[in-house]
Amino acid sequence: MTDPTREAATQDPATPNGAEPVDSVEQAARTPELDQPYRELGLADDEYERIREILGRRPTEAELAMYSVMWSEHCSYKSSKTHLKYFGETTTEEMRAKMLAGIGENAGVVDIGDGWAVTFKVESHNHPSYVEPYQGAATGVGGIVRDIMAMGARPVAVADPLRFGPADAADTRRVLPGVVEGVGGYGNCLGLPNIGGEVVFDESYARNPLVNAMCVGVLKSDELQLAHATGAGNKVILFGARTGLDGIGGVSVLASETFSGDETGSGRKKLPSVQVGDPFTEKVLIECCLELYGSDLVVGVQDLGGAGLSCATSELAAAGDGGMRIDLDTVPLRAEGMNPAEILSSESQERMCAIVRPEDVDSFMAVCRKWDVTATVIGEVTDEEHLRIDWRGECVVDVPPRTVADEGPVYQRPVRRPAEQDLIAADDANTLSRPATAEELRETVLRMAASPNLCSREWVTGQYDHYVRGNTVLAQPSDGGVLRVDEETGRGIAVATDCNARYTRLDPYEGARLALAEAYRNVAVTGSKPVAVTNCLNFGSAEDPGVMWQFQQSVRGLADAAAELGIPVTGGNVSFYNQTGGDPILPTPVAGVLGVIDDVTARIPTGIGAAPGESLLLLGDTREEFGGSEWSRVVHGHLGGTPPRVDLARERLLADVLGIGSRDGLLSAAHDLSEGGLAQALVEMSLIGETGARIVLPEEADPFVWLFAESAGRVAVSVPRGAELKFTELCSARGLPCSKIGVVDDESKALEIQGVGDIPLSELREAWEGTLPRLFG
């Protein structure tokens, strides 16, 4: 039994460790041969050598900490850079026309008309969320929101693509509720409506859950902020939370190596690398930032995320026109006895760094005081071309900032297509045994609806506020979230994120194209026009040539598809090393699409029954495509064959027709077909609309294929009486296959499918809604 008070005292890492020598630049020059723990910090031998070359001496401890975090995979993109270039190479001038900021900025920015611009980005917080689900997910949301703030935008919504191990696994019961509570706890408290996301279960995520968080921000197109430190003499202001010992796990190696033997050293080694989020501080920080931007008090701004001050100072300086000088003693600390390396690497949340003209400092501080935000001048912009950081009167960092921020190592990792891909492709899903009788089909519809990947997400999304800010026009369970941006004109935006990683596993190139096609379609079915793409590329180890092949193929697939769709990739995020032992996760390139809708009152809902006498139509072609399908997983535990074919010209056509249909009021509901095929789409349209329907199979159709195939490029729509002719003419004029599949029936409390039977909505609802509450309480 322990006494926490006593324990805390002995464990206390904050105990000042006396007058240890400062490892200054001078000291470094004097002791060139000192052994440095660079390997423990994740630097390779040649990387360390390069640092010595750049500096012409050994790095100081603080410099070593900076380079090691900034040259890490997460910050430097050293394994992915050579592949990501392809996004730029495939983006034409025409695609770029509406892009105000793109890859390389904190987040992409797109002009949406009427003087408005939108910025959006997804980021991963996978590993932290496995270690500590609540705080990991919460700080994941906090981090992406600050990225959006750094563009000068007001964050207006979040979304959360999530992936977990098997739904019934004990560890999933630990991770999922915590993650959901963390996403909600942080986002709800910030007042950001959650308008979308995903919940996917698969064995491969068992010890590698994926917690991706998206944030969307809105700004006037002439209010863009940039992360650069310009103008010698301008002040560097750190504002927001104090800096503590959070998230410096790796860097505490320095303390323990250097001061080995003393208690502080060994104590710090045990420091958790988890960070605790403080959403209230971030909420206040948002309002404070917006007031600062609005009063034109900021020359440049950068959020503090991974790598903390190391990142913010070196990136601001690298993007500027000179250098920067920082006095570390001025940084407000939360813990005692922090050394320079720790202060520079701390990942304490809820902090921002601004460049401010000297004459504006007082006004800047006044705004911060109004919002009770701690703000401190920690340095200034210089014309020295160096980033120089002092501590206790000595220079502890003196580096060319670009060498830290931009000129990290670049690797050409080996890429090899695994031989087993052929075996997987040969393992055809179309030969699996199928339900044959009406009774079997009926049972399959219900079993699929209740399966963890298809069942209602209400248990998750009911914990998220989607009403706050009063501009949410569509949210869960719609295919895409839709927000009003301008109350006067009704102009709005839509977002959706998607990835079926089973498809990507079968064929990473086609799978990535399918992911983008689905997100694109999910935006289009709301009546919005897709305009831009972001991504979050979650993969296994970059040192596995097979994984790198998946990565390379996925990047090419996404980029090529974006080019074919004519919408630019404006940014993204890479997360490698999502694997346990030799088993990587399914390759998971999540695609996020942003759309624009001229008038949100024209949005198309998902549920049927809103208008009297609707007809149900199916747009697109159905083929015998079961490779990677949800049916093959649920019924056979199978993953093999080839994914559905992608036809991006068809996707564009669909989006055009849906756009016109929404504008002209021809559609009362629309839902895209994806996992689970037509059967699942019909189940959802009926349950969401709380209205039954009668479905008639086309004469030549095989009922099983027709109901469960996952052919891409399809959407089910309902058309009000009177609009049917006009809509079908619209389709045939443009060559979009469109067939009537049934009618909505206000009286019927059932989904009646010819050749399958009647399924009362109450029975369907129990199947669809019961699963997650049963699993997670």
Binding site: G184, C189, K283, G462, R469, R484
Partner: protein
């Protein structure tokens, strides 16, 4: 007074979230909205006050526990004593309870989860300043979104609230948070200070809410102000 002449203040605390929505609802009802600041001990001559939803001060200690000490709240308590209509929504309800303007307290939902959903309510009392536009027994569909909305008070207090007709709304079709006696909203003895967990300001336009059933609360108060 004309409708547009009625000035309804909405307080912003650090961490308030639905202040903008409350102001939009006030405008939609036809009144003028006035932004009030937590640190400003001045109601700027408004005719009624709304304490909006959100997480004032992060709700870290207890919901509403820190906000009640804000300078503006001293003025709200004083004005309420003189009969000014005051409405607390969600976090605002919690603040009013903590500040002693309404009895009881809002505690952690019995399901232990934050709940955001469209909720059916029944109007129990239509004689308070904020509910005159509703028929007694009418059912409204209004969003709820809270983690700590379980209304708790001692039995004698609950008996008195019910006996005096001070329960404004009750949850129907399922109690989402374990509130005692399904209570969703209450009023003070004079029927002028009201608090509820559901968000009427998010049900003023079917485009962005489930219904416009919430508008009646703002129109009710406006009727009183215009008549005065």
């Amino acid at each position: 007074m004309s409708a547009a002449g009625a000035r309804i203040g909405v307080i912003t605390f650090p961490g308030s979230l639905d202040d903008g929505d409350a102001r939009r609802a006030v405008r939609r009802a036809g009144a003028s909205d006035v932004a009030l600041w937590h640190g400003d001990a001045d109601l700027h001559g408004v005719d009624a006050v709304i304490v909006p939803g959100g997480f004032s001060y992060g709700d870290y200690l207890r919901c509403g526990a820190i906000a009640k000490f804000a300078p503006v709240m001293t003025e709200v308590v004083r004005a309420a004593g003189q009969g000014m209509p005051v409405l607390g929504v969600c976090n605002g309800f919690q603040v009013l309870c903590e500040a002693g303007l309404l009895p009881g307290v809002l505690t952690r939902n019995s399901g232990l989860h934050y709940v955001c959903r469209d909720q059916w309510l029944r109007v129990d009392n239509n004689t308070s300043t904020w509910t005159t536009r509703y028929e007694p027994g009418a059912e409204l569909l209004i969003p709820i979104k809270h983690g700590e909305g379980r209304y708790v008070a001692e039995d004698p207090v609950l008996d008195r609230l019910e006996g005096d007709g001070r329960v404004l709304f009750r949850y129907v079709d399922g109690n989402p948070n374990g509130s005692r006696r399904d209570i969703a909203g209450i009023t003070d003895e004079r029927g002028r200070v009201a608090g509820l967990m559901p968000h009427p300001e998010h049900a003023v336009d079917p485009l962005t809410g489930p219904t416009d059933d919430g508008l009646g609360m703002f129109l009710s108060a406006l009727d009183t102000l215009v008549a005065a």
